[in-house]
Structures are given as C-alpha cells and as structure tokens.
Symmetry: C2
Subunit: 408 residues, 2 copies
Amino acid sequence: MILKTNGERLWDSLMEMATIGPGERGGSRRLALTDADIEGRNLFRKWADEAGCTFRLDTMGNLFARRNGKNSEAPPVLAGSHLDTQPSGGRFDGILGVLGALEVVRSLNDHRVETDSPVEIAVWTNEEGARFPPAMMGSGVFAGIFEQADIYTHQDPEGITVEDELRRTKQLGESPCKLFQIRAYYELHIEQGPVLEAENTSIGVVTGGQGSYWTHITLQGQGSHAGTTPMNYRRDPIMGAARIISGMRDIVLKQPGAVGTVGRLETTPASINSIPGKVFFTVDNRHPDEEILANINQDLMKLVNSVCAEEGLENEFTNIWKAPTLNFHDECISKVRNAAESLGYTHRDIVSGAGHDACQINRIAPTGMIFIPCENGLSHDEAENTTPEQVAAGADVLLNAILASAGN
Amino acid sequence: MILKTNGERLWDSLMEMATIGPGERGGSRRLALTDADIEGRNLFRKWADEAGCTFRLDTMGNLFARRNGKNSEAPPVLAGSHLDTQPSGGRFDGILGVLGALEVVRSLNDHRVETDSPVEIAVWTNEEGARFPPAMMGSGVFAGIFEQADIYTHQDPEGITVEDELRRTKQLGESPCKLFQIRAYYELHIEQGPVLEAENTSIGVVTGGQGSYWTHITLQGQGSHAGTTPMNYRRDPIMGAARIISGMRDIVLKQPGAVGTVGRLETTPASINSIPGKVFFTVDNRHPDEEILANINQDLMKLVNSVCAEEGLENEFTNIWKAPTLNFHDECISKVRNAAESLGYTHRDIVSGAGHDACQINRIAPTGMIFIPCENGLSHDEAENTTPEQVAAGADVLLNAILASAGN
C-alpha cells in the first residue's frame, strides 16, 4: 500500500506556523521556551487535537501527540523534530519534521488507515541550543546522554534557568523524561546543504551522521618589522598557516565524503607592517567513517609538524572536541529508501553533516532520517527555503516509512 | 686624517639618557613632547652646552646644536636623529643618532680639530609618530613635505594638539622651520633588521630606502555550514587566501631584495564550524627599485585574479598606500663607505627597510646613513640592544664621514 499526503495542507501549516515569532525577513524567531516557542507549540497542539491525538508532556517539556493503533500496548512509531528556531531562523528547520509528522497523522485519518502500532508525533525541547546550550537538549535527556538535573540548571544569557522556563511556560510535564519502548523513530528535515538541490534529487536517504574533530592550531614564529627583515631571515607563521590550510584541503580531497574547514584565523600582532609573531586558526574536519577521520587528523598533525620544521616555527596542535560518527538503523534506512523508490521519487543516500534530534534518539532506538532539498543549501537563516512539491515528497516518504514500521 | 671617538663615553651617555622616562624592562618611554621627552632634550642640551655648542630652536621644535667652523658662513654639516621613543621603546632607536653626533662634537673637541664648515647636531621633533601622527614629523615639515599649519592641528589621543604641546613645553622656537643651506646630513642608526648581525658585519653603508606598496585584499565567497557543504560545492575564501599568501611569497622570492608581509587576516564570520563568507587580509610589499616593486604589485594582482577565478571568488584589490623608493646621495654614501674602509671596519651596502628622518632630509639635501647591528634585529621594543663596540664603530664612521664633508 502506497499512500500520499496532502502537500498543500502541509505547506499551509508551515506558512501559518512561520507567522508566530515572525522574523524581519520572512523567517521566524522562536527561541526555546520563550513565549513565541510556546505559542508555536500551542498551535501545533490545537492542530494535533483536531486530528484526534492525545498528549503526553514529559519533565523536559518534550511533547508526544499520539494517534492510537490497533494494538495500543505496542511500542509506538515516533516521528518528529523541534519547533524552536535560531534567533534569525527559517521556516523549515525542525518545523518540517513536526508538521510533516502531523501531516502523516492527518493523512492516515483521511485514508482511514488504522496502523497496528500507535504513531506518535514528537516535539523535542530546545533542539537549537541557541538560547540554552547545549543543542539537542530535550532529545539528549530522553536518550540518557544528558542528566536532567544538570540540564535544569543551564542558564540563558540573562541567567534564567531551563527549569525556571519549563515551569513558567507550563511545559514541565508529569511523564518522566526517559526512554520508553519505541518501534522506530523517523525525522524529516531539510538537507541544510547543497547536494540534493544541485543533483536535482527529491529525497535524501540519510544513512548516518559524520564524525567531527575540532582542532586549535597555534603557530609561533618571530614577530618582526615588515620592512627591515629580509625573507631569508623570517620565521613567519602566516606562511606556515597558508601552507597548512592548502595542505589540509589536499588531505581532505583525497577522502571522498570528507570535509575540512578553517573558520577562524587570527594574527598577533595584527598590523599591516609587522610580521606576526603568532597565528592561531581552527580546523573542523568531518567524515562518516571513524577510522578515516582519525587518519585525516593524523595526516593533518604530520603536515603541521613538517611545515613547522621547514618554516622554523613552533606549534600547538589541540583536538578540542571529537564527535563520534553515527550510523542510522539499517531497517529504517531501507524503509525510507523503499518508500522513496515506491513513490517514484528520485533519491540518493546521504550523510548528515549537522546534528539532529534523530542523532540522539539513534543511540537508543531504531532511527532513520529523510532529507529534502533546500534552496542554495542555506539554513539557520531567515532566507532558508524549499518548495511545496519538495515538502510534499518528503512527507509522502515519511508517511510510507512510518506505515512500513507501524504495520497495518 | 682618521680620528676615533670615545666609545665608552658615548655608551655612558646612551645609558644615562635611557634612565629618563624609564620603561619597565630596561627601555624608555619618551613619547614626543611629553615631559619625559623634554627632560631628555634638556639633558642633551646640557651636554651639548658643555661641549661648547650654541642652540637654535625652530617653530617645529627641531633643535640644532652648533659647533662652529673656520668659516662660520659656510653651510653646516648636519648629523642627528630623534630623542622621542615608542611607548615601549628601546635605548638606541634615534638616540644613537643624536648622541653619536654629540660624541663626534666631543671628539672633535678632544682632538682639537677645527672643521672648515660648522657641524650641527639635529634633534628632530616626533620622529616616531607614536603620540602624534604622522611619523618623521619635524624633519618632514623642515623638508617641506608636510605643512606646518596643518601639522600644528594634529592631535594626540587625548585631543591635545602639536601646537599646544610645543607651546606648553617651550619647544616652539623662533627660527622658521624650513630648509637652510646644508652641506650634508648624516644619520647613525641601529639597523632594526637582522642582516648585519647575522653576517657579523660592523657597518651598514645605507644606499637608500625601499619603496613600499600597502594593499588591502578582500575575497568574497559563500559562507556556509562546515558540516553540510561538500568540498566540491564550496567557494571558500580562506582557501583562496592561503593560495595567494603562498603565491605572494613565491613572487617576492623571485626578486632579490624584495620583501612581502601579510600582517592581518580576518575571517567573517569567525566561527570554527562555519565556512567564512569573506576573508580580508593585508599585504606589505617593499623593494628598493620602483619598477620592480610595481611589477611585484602587478604580479600579485594577477595572482589574486587567477586564484579567485579558480576558486569561484570575487575580490577587491586596493593599493591603499605607495611610498616611493629613495636613493641616498652618492657622495655621502661614498664618504660613509670610505670612512668604514679606512677605519678597517667590516661593512656592506644595505637598504633601509624603515623610514628615518634622513629619508625626509634626503629630498632636499645630500644625505647618507650609517647602520650598526642590533641584537636579533629587534627594535621598537624595550629589549632593543646593541654593544659598546658596535656603537663606537658607528660613531667613528660618523665622525670621519662628517670630517670628509666638513673639511679641515
């Protein structure tokens, strides 16, 4: 059985949700647990209520809207994402995962399909982490990655705690925030990258998430006068940095699927007519394979050492953070791929470069993700965009993957 | 006739002068026209007075201490430099030129030599420009490069004008600040670079000054997510900058005597997990030959354009400042070289990478400079250092070059 959703209804809901906490350029600003965030949640609650759902709110404010199945004792199939946004956020990042799941429920109603397992829409609290760090907070506590007691004490820039805001906004529910039995979890999301759009492909079958290494590199040379120091007397760290940056890209380009970014670079002193004594820069390397990523890091370290030896520089090389790679559940991946195939949508396997609630849930339950293209790969910006056709295709795949997991 | 100075006396005077406006690490802080600067000038005045000099103060505070010659109507031979320092300045930059000239006068007295032309010690006001921009202020007005009426209005960071401070400190003299007839001008200075020390050479015969181009380069690419943007979809300006920085050095290394420096580089945004949308950096290129310098600039511009074309970047390339190259006077250069040769000091021709009062005076009168080595090429820092032997050798060369110009 292949069912379709109502893409127009989904698009309308997305557009209506976007008017809450409106941004200045057509996007949204609904920072976690602000009044705007709650207003968005309430609109979702109203819609889910109209679709016949029942609600459960947990002690982290994670909200579950349930459409019962033939077997109400069976573990539910979950689908969702988040409704909070970045400060100048878009209309789709997170929201599509929640309203896509709502559209699945609405479509199951339309088609009068009763699934074997219940289907639940999950709204995870504070995925963005823009107001309260860390990101993926609600799903992280749910998955046992974060301690709720600790998370409760985290503060926003004005010193207001997560617990304060959960209480003030009446989002501190009665269900304990911890894993319950789940048949599968699916999350529909915009890609936040350029690949699907560039390849004119409708559906990304997300197979996993990249691991990443964040590295701080400091090169120490000899600061000196730009006019009076001949080239052969220099130990100039910016020359070392330039070689390392180019060489880092060469290392990364040898590994298909790897990415490498230098996002910050600072010279000390920072003066047009002084050779800097010190250069600091950052490297962010990512790859879906743990071992390949570790090799990239090793090659980078060797490169830094050899360039420094040649340029007469000292260096400090510090991996300040490592995030493990992640593989989604084979069965969920297959169900997403089969759904896209059966629906006749162009699709390709893809790896997520960003973190998602699904990455947390994957630690404790079978999980899969569906990507759709977004305009210019842009996200975390009010200009974030996609099309009614693309969201409809994504929701169709979500519907049929859920059906396959829930049974009917 | 080859005469020698009293190196020990010169060193003692340098050390005594350094105690005025003492720095925290053994250097000095005598910003132009502060009380400390005036205290330094007064100590010099006392010494020059004891050496039998008469004084003339001009309307820019430039101070001339005169030792008369057989022909008091003849144009004097000038030698000098400045007594003001950087905020954390050294004991030699400028001071050596003034006290070296004082030592010449003292030595002429010791040797009872009467020169044909008068010899005058020049103390130029505000060479460093650290309190009041621009640098080389007093010598610049004297040489007609700056307008005195304009310079009078220049302010320090607290809004005090040059004229205010000249009046308050009683340095606004009666002689008009303008060129008078000068037979020759000599300036003794530390190299402020590593060449003489590295080559174990006592004397640098300065043949001229480098020209310089200061350039601002902005590369515009596409800011994006460090995780979700595959390498082949990137237009990453830091990768362009790295190639241009390395390529700039290659261009410079092809031209003996050229130098190239990237002193500042900024990424926007500056975030470890964002591909920067924009990178700004500076280039300072110098060479003693005007045409070669222009070619280096052309090659750099071509490099920027070709790298940007390959990397998919836009660029802005702006030469924000060009300083012309400068050749000292052949006759003065020869007299310096001959003096070093006759005294048996190791010497080499050298080009000044920094600006000096001599660079201003060279526009209007026959000028030469003498460099001596300084420790690690360091200057503009309290750690600036040289040795009694080196300052003595420099003063000996200054004495004999002055003698050659003044006649006796």
